[in-house]
Assembly symmetry: C2
Homo-oligomer: 253 residues x 2
C-alpha cells in the first residue's frame, strides 16, 4: 500500500471551536486534507477537501486559502493519479470541508455512514452551516455503512460519532516499514483534543464525541498506531504530503 | 403573590458561550440572580446565585463582582426576608452560579430535578467545572422532581433540559395586575437565544436544548407570559429588582 496525504488548503477557525470553550477569541489556521490509499483492491480516497467558493459564500467571516496546486485534481496529479482512477471514495462525514470535491469522483463507489447521510439531509438547526455544501447530493450515489467496517484488507473504518451523527475514522494496518496509521478525521481535530480529552466546539452529541476520543486513544494504543489528526497545523507540518508518501510493503512487522 | 428578583452579582463570559459558536472572543458581563416568591403556601426561592470565592478559585480567568449588598442574605433582607423565612428552595439546576448560597437555606425544603442531581454527582468531563461548587451536597437534602410539576397554585415548573441533564423553568401565573412571568433560567441565557433559537455554548445535549428553547417560546405564547431570561445584562436592567417587586393580587385577568 501507499498512503498519500493530499493538502487541499486551509481556513481560519476559533481555537474554542477546536477545543470546546477553550481560549475563545484566538484565531487559528486549520489544515484541510484528504487521504489517498493505493491498495491491491483499488485506489481509495478518504474525503475530498473543501470548495473555497462555498466557504467564501457560506462563511464570509473566515479566511480560506487554496492555491491552484491545492485543488484536489492537482493534488491527485501530484500523487500520480487522476480523479477517474479513484475506485472507492469514503466520506468520513458530510461536513463542507470533507465533501468539497465529491463532484470530481462520480466514477467511484462512494461510502458514508448511514446515520450521517440521514442527518445531513435533516440537520439540526445548529448543524445547518456545517452541512451547507450540498453538492454531494448530486455528485454521489452513496453506499451506506453501519458500525465498524473492514473496507479492504488492512483498511478498517471505526465508528466514531458525536462530532456528527455518523463519523468514521480510518486505520491503515502497518507493517515492517511503518507503524499502523490512524486517521481520526474530525473525531479529533488536534492532538490536544486527544491529550486533554476535550471535544471540538462543533458537535452533535458531546457524550458520544467524548467516548469517540477515548476510543481513538484506545485504538492507537492497541494497534501501536501513529495518529493523524484532522485539523492541527503544527501536527500536519510533520506529516508526509503529496508527492511524498508513506510506503507500506505489506511485509508483516 | 409578590415576585422579587435578587441581584447576586455578575461575572464575565464569552459571547460564544452565551450563543454557541457566535462572536468568539467577545467578553460580556453576565448577571446572576435568584427569584423570591411570597406565596400563600410559603416563601419560595428559586436558585441561590453564586459564591464569588468559588469563582475566583475555579474560574481565575473570569472576572466576578459581588458587592456586600449583592450577597444573598443582603438581597433577602432588602426584600424583607431572612434565610430562615424561606420555606421552599428550588434549584433550576446545579451549576455553580445557581447553588452558590444553598448553604444559607438549610431550613427550607429543597427541590431539584432527579436527573440533575444524578448528573451533578457523576458529571461528564466537560461538565466538571460547571458542577465544581459542591457545597450543595452538604447543604441540601434534596426532594427530587420529575417532569412538569405544579409546585403550588400558580407556580409551575416546566422541564427544559439540554443545557444540563435536568433543568426547570418557572411560570408564575399572572392576574389582572401583571402578565404571567416565565423565568427561563439557563434554558435561555438571553433574549437572543430565544429569537435566533441558538443554544448556549455550555450544554449537555444540543438537540434537547434546542427543543427546550422552542418549548419556552411556545409556553410564553400560550400563557402570554413576560420572559425573564437568565444571563442577559441589557434585559436584566429592565427588570424590577429588590427592594422593588412584582405585586400580583391574584385577581384573575
Amino acid at each position: 500500500m501507499r498512503v498519500t496525504l493530499l493538502d487541499t488548503g486551509r481556513m481560519t477557525i476559533d481555537r474554542s471551536q477546536v477545543l470546546w470553550n477553550v481560549d475563545c477569541g484566538t484565531k487559528l489556521w486549520f489544515p484541510i486534507y484528504a487521504v489517498l490509499v493505493e491498495h491491491p483492491d483499488g485506489l481509495f480516497l478518504f474525503d475530498t477537501g473543501v470548495d473555497p467558493d462555498h466557504v467564501r459564500a457560506a462563511f464570509p467571516w473566515e479566511r480560506i486559502e487554496q492555491t491552484p496546486e491545492q485543488r484536489l485534481e492537482a493534488q491527485l496529479r501530484s500523487a500520480g493519479a487522476s480523479p477517474d482512477d479513484v475506485t472507492h471514495l469514503v466520506n468520513s462525514h458530510l461536513h463542507f470541508d470533507h465533501v468539497g470535491a465529491n463532484r470530481l469522483l462520480r466514477g467511484a463507489r462512494t461510502f458514508v455512514a448511514e446515520a450521517e447521510l440521514r442527518a445531513a439531509r435533516a440537520p439540526q438547526p445548529f448543524e445547518a452551516l456545517a452541512y451547507s455544501d450540498r453538492s454531494f447530493e448530486e455528485a454521489s450515489a452513496f453506499e451506506l455503512l453501519e458500525g465498524d467496517v473492514e473496507l479492504a484488507h488492512g483498511l478498517r473504518l471505526y465508528a466514531t460519532p458525536g462530532h456528527c451523527a455518523g463519523h468514521y475514522s480510518l486505520l491503515v494496518d502497518g507493517d515492517a516499514e511503518h507503524r499502523s496509521m490512524l486517521f481520526t478525521f474530525d473525531a479529533a481535530y488536534s492532538l490536544e483534543n486527544l491529550e486533554r480529552e476535550i471535544i471540538s466546539g462543533f458537535h452533535l452529541d458531546p457524550i458520544a464525541a467524548t467516548e469517540s476520543i477515548r476510543r481513538l486513544k484506545a485504538l492507537a494504543a492497541e494497534h501501536d498506531a501513529e495518529l493523524f489528526v484532522a485539523h492541527d497545523l503544527p501536527a500536519f507540518a510533520g506529516y508526509r504530503r503529496a508527492p511524498d508518501a508513506y510506503e507500506l510493503s505489506g511485509v508483516p512487522a
